[in-house]
Symmetry: C2
DNA sequence: TTGAAAGCGCTAACAT
DNA sequence: ATGTTAGCGCTTTCAA
């Protein structure tokens, strides 16, 4: 039951009666090896259950490791899950494996993760930057040839490739949709912290839509929450005011869940809703939820493709890729302005 | 712009005018170092932007790498996202980082991923086994001290710790709920392939509930699909038959999405539904969706805890941990048996 | 076609 | 308090 030492190249070599280098040659299909020794080596490898130590190999070869470091806020958020899948699908052909960690949107945890990934000599670093994180320390690595891509939000302290959604335009389109259906008092339920890039951009889109329609901006209609429960609470508060909004705009998928849950709970079907980011079952709700859909997998693929191009020597200027959003009209944005019930 | 070589321990040592070992001592807070040299070393480290090579360190130290390998079917499935979060939360304190890959439920991809993880000398291996995968090759690693835990489904070809939901009992409880509300023709919409452990167990629970109520098993009421779209299609077909079921049981979260979407599309509100696994917005649907809720984060935590215990020397017999499900009654299971509309 | 020696970046074990 | 030597498991280089 004792933890017996894992077999090494040398063990296999000894077993067969050849040099370590010969075994190495067989395994890497490097130089020429006679068919006979090849057989023997392979047999010994199978028998001993030898598995080459990738770290040792990497040390010697010197290049970056065949891993890609990915820092996202939350593994359990479906948006980032889809992003991760897009990335994995794109890099798999290149033999890269995903090293992942969630930052919980905490700058310190993000820093610890990136440091760890750098120490592991990842081939690529893809980061969803937390509020307050500074990325100046990544600069030198980028100059040294490490592709760094910021995702969902631009980074701070260095200029590098970023992939973001068309947050402002998308939000503006979503809010305009509400306005087109007669709404003039539109609540904005955003996530926290308020300095979050996506929140600011989407709020800017909201304000632009109001401006476009000559609707004065009412600060009191903008509320915030950390999670779904929080969103439910602020939604309830907003609607219980003497002058409640007739429509709500959700700043992200989690806020959307909160709004929808609260409206269902309180049976306020007459409140119009448009959400930024799609959620599952949106079309099965009553009314079906109109959303400004993002393309999370495409965002992931795009980030990965950009990084791979850098890895292949692309030295062009840092780009910001904007992945377009799409207004998916399903009904919830067209609720009547006046009158309750259906 | 050329990729300048990353600085090494030796570079730092040369810069300060000390030996490599001294630098190592400072960084690992090993043996005694004078405050002065400490300062100097730290300064040089910062200036050169030195980041110790974790792989080199690991090679020398010989122990397993501080990574945990995780193979799941799909990164974008919220169930597995939550599982992953549970795992990460549990192992973070121990300084372990997640190495993840999705198998797409393909035995060959699963094998390639585990091989890669083993080659990286992960500290722990957690796998959601694909249908048709054989895990005999992991046996020797487990004996050699590598904690291997199967998650969501038991493995094949070796006995080791597994963490699963109470699939059979949960499904039985869910179907019994439908029967209690007068349903006798209950459709089962399951995922594929049919040999999938969770599907078989849940189907067994479905049959047990029928048996308990003396309802004959009608094979034609059991249908299958690969994804949400497929589930929508088979749901539609099932309900368009001359003798349609009055209730449906969803075999997993994806099937649930398909059923709910199809019922909403075709406005068949009178069909009762209970789903295995919870989905977001379940409570906002009309009727709200009754589910047999799993505890994905708990499953992840449980798997991680078990693995860590093994890492700490626990040599007791392999366990199968069953994480209980919970019937969450929300309404959709109580639809009337006869009569359409509300 | 094969092997011996050196070395990747780091640390364990022993000096000093 | 610091340095030296050797070696982790592998590959590169050069020689046979």
């Amino acid at each position: 039951m004792a933890a017996s030492r894992r077999p090494t190249l040398a063990d296999v070599a000894r077993e067969v009666g050849v040099s370590a280098k010969t075994v190495s040659r067989v395994l890497n299909e490097d130089g020429p090896v006679s068919a006979r020794t090849r057989e023997h080596v392979l047999a010994a490898v199978a028998e001993l259950g030898f598995q080459p130590n990738l770290m040792a190999r990497n040390i010697r070869v010197g290049g970056p490791d065949t891993t890609i470091g990915l820092v996202i806020p939350d593994l359990a958020n479906p948006f980032f899950g889809a992003v991760a899948r897009g990335i994995e699908d794109t890099v798999r052909d290149r033999g890269l494996t995903l090293l992942m960690g969630s930052s919980a949107d905490d700058a310190e945890r993000e820093r610890a993760l990136t440091a760890q990934f750098l120490a592991r000599r990842v081939s690529i670093l893809i980061v969803v930057p937390s509020v307050g994180a500074d990325h100046s320390d990544l600069k030198s690595h980028r100059t040294a040839g490490l592709p760094v891509v910021f995702l969902d939000r631009p980074g701070v302290g260095m200029s590098t490739d970023s992939v973001v959604s068309s947050n402002r335009a998308g939000a503006q389109e979503g809010v305009a949709h509400l306005i087109a259906h007669g709404h003039r008092r539109i609540g904005f339920v955003g996530d926290l912290p308020v300095k979050l890039y996506t929140r600011r951009e989407r709020l800017a889109g909201y304000r632009a839509a109001l401006r476009e329609a000559d609707i004065p901006y009412d600060r009191s209609l903008v509320v915030s929450a950390h999670d779904q429960q929080g969103a439910e609470a602020v939604t309830a508060q907003l609607l219980e005011r003497p002058d409640p909004p007739t429509a709500l705009f959700a700043g992200n998928n989690i806020m959307a869940l909160g709004i929808v849950a609260e409206l269902a709970r309180s049976k306020r079907k007459h409140v119009a809703v448009v959400a930024f980011d799609d959620v599952s079952l949106a079309e099965a709700l009553e009314p079906a939820l109109t959303v400004v859909a993002q393309a999370p997998e495409e965002i992931g693929r795009s980030a990965a493709t950009t990084a791979l191009a850098r890895l292949d020597g692309d030295r062009s200027r840092a780009r910001t890729i904007t992945v377009p959003t799409r207004l998916v009209v399903r009904g919830s944005g067209e609720q009547r302005v006046r009158e309750g019930g259906r």
